[in-house]
């Protein structure tokens, strides 16, 4: 299976699973942010425009249930999609370590941008929301990402 074929299956599946866990089963803290994971995986394979468009679409879907900060996910994920695509030109990484760092930083940056653009009346304390929850969430996403990539044939064929 080619890398694109795997991602063509994996990315939509992650999007569906994300909303199934978070909306369908109302799992909040325990379910990883599979939407960001899907975006970060896809962004490495497409150009900046397509990465941004994918991020905007994913973010808008997330915002459909975000009454407190509508648009914050769309903006943060658009930026992450663009930056993720840019990393392809800057870093040629196919090692587990690079992949882990890429996913961790990507998710952490998404949470940081979200926190920055969300209205001050609705966002939690920086240390708790970004450093603690954001940091743990980023590690969680990176671990899940590593597991999935290993499952679908390893780093050389996918990332």
């Amino acid at each position: 299976m080619t890398r694109r074929t795997v991602l063509g299956f994996l990315v939509p599946a992650l999007v569906v699973l994300h909303f199934l866990f978070h909306v369908g089963f109302s799992i909040q803290g325990w379910a990883p942010d599979l939407l960001v994971l899907a975006l970060l995986l896809a962004a490495r394979e497409v150009g900046m425009g397509a990465g941004g468009a994918l991020g905007f679409t994913f973010g808008l879907l997330e915002d459909a249930f975000s009454w407190l900060a509508f648009g914050a996910s769309a903006l943060s994920m658009t930026l992450i999609g663009v930056l993720g695509s840019r990393t392809r030109e800057l870093f040629v990484g196919d090692s587990p370590l690079f992949f882990f760092a890429y996913l961790t930083l990507g998710k952490f940056l998404k949470d940081l941008i979200y926190w920055l653009v969300a209205a001050s009346s609705v966002k939690g304390p920086f240390l708790e929301t970004v450093v603690l929850h954001g940091g743990l969430g980023a590690l969680y996403v990176a671990l899940v990402g590593l597991g999935l990539v290993s499952l679908f044939g390893g780093f050389r064929s996918l990332s």
């Binding site: 909303f19 199934l20 866990f21 978070h22 909306v23 369908g24 089963f25 109302s26 799992i27 909040q28 379910a31 942010d33 900046m48 425009g49 941004g52 468009a53 991020g55 905007f56 973010g59 808008l60 879907l61 997330e62 915002d63 459909a64 249930f65 975000s66 009454w67 407190l68 900060a69 509508f70 648009g71 914050a72 996910s73 769309a74 903006l75 658009t78 930026l79 663009v82 979200y114 653009v117 969300a118 009346s121 609705v122 939690g124 304390p125 708790e128």
Partner: protein, 282 residues
């Protein structure tokens, strides 16, 4: 294209609230509808799995209320006939299942599986009964089949309030805790010379017309601080903890609500479920 997308997402962020709501509703009722349907199915399954003993206890409790009110209802009907008054609106409460999306930014908000088809309107109070009936929040948006509400931990929530004996009036607002789930209610604007005892029941006052009068909100826990020399603030123990709620009652706008709150509160006090002062009203 990249710059255009970033500008577009900034525009979305600063769209008027009404436009954002319509956009969100469009996505919820189309692309994301399968996931909300799954959520409804899960909630229904959870409801069916509830303890039969607990449901039986609630049924017995309601049966006792109906039995004790039967004479009063008959007397009321007779008096209404004598005075040639129209019948009361038969349905005052709408039962609903509550869902919480686990997505980022949806904290303090909830979905209900009832909408305009069931007579739900924007601004209707949302109540929960677990031992005693209490205020959870209010309806913010309504479509035909479902509605969106905000609970008392939402930053925009505020309710004019009073002690259950109607002697002291103030305003109840949420305050963020040190962590998510640690949000608390604060009773503000209490005159300095009025001292409230711990355990005093605080109910909605009905001033301002947002919430009907008499809905229990919380009990006084402790003095928070004095606002300068003239006013005091008190922390409240909420009657309803938002995180634990799965089934709610939406109260339709109706003057008979006050009587129903008194009835339900009186029953709760009689059964000593809450173990605190009853607040049953006159």
């Amino acid at each position: 294209m990249v710059v255009g997308l970033i500008l577009l997402s900034i525009v979305v962020l600063y769209l008027p609230a009404g436009t954002q709501a319509r956009l969100a509703e469009g996505l919820q009722s189309t692309v994301l509808r399968p996931f909300t349907l799954v959520q409804e199915a899960v909630a229904q399954a959870r409801l069916r799995a509830e303890s039969a003993l607990e449901l039986q206890a609630r049924l017995d409790s309601l049966g006792a209320v109906v039995a004790t009110q039967a004479t009063l209802a008959e007397e009321n009907r007779h008096l209404r006939e004598l005075l040639d008054l129209e019948d009361r609106i038969p349905e005052t409460f709408v039962h609903a299942n509550l869902f919480r999306p686990g997505t980022t930014g949806s904290e303090s908000m909830f979905l209900l599986d009832v909408g305009t088809d069931e007579g739900v309107q924007v601004g209707d109070p949302v109540l929960m009964r677990s031992g005693r009936v209490g205020l959870l929040g209010m309806i913010r948006e309504v479509s035909r089949e479902f509605s969106i509400g905000l609970d008392w931990s939402h930053p925009e929530f505020a309710a004019t309030a009073m002690t259950s004996d109607e002697s002291v009036f103030g305003l109840v607002e949420p305050r963020s805790g040190d962590f998510r789930g640690g949000d608390r209610l604060l009773l503000t604007a209490i005159p300095y010379f009025e001292r409230l005892q711990p355990g005093t029941l605080i109910v909605t006052s009905g001033l301002g017309g947002v919430f009907p009068r008499g809905i229990p909100i919380g009990e006084v826990m402790e003095l928070h601080q004095d606002e300068g020399q003239w006013q005091s603030e008190y922390w409240l123990t909420p009657v309803v903890l938002p995180g634990s709620v799965t089934h709610v009652l939406v109260a339709k706008s109706d003057s008979s609500l006050v009587r129903l709150f008194e009835m339900l509160e009186g029953e709760a006090a009689d059964s000593s479920v809450s173990g605190s002062e009853g607040g049953g009203g006159p």
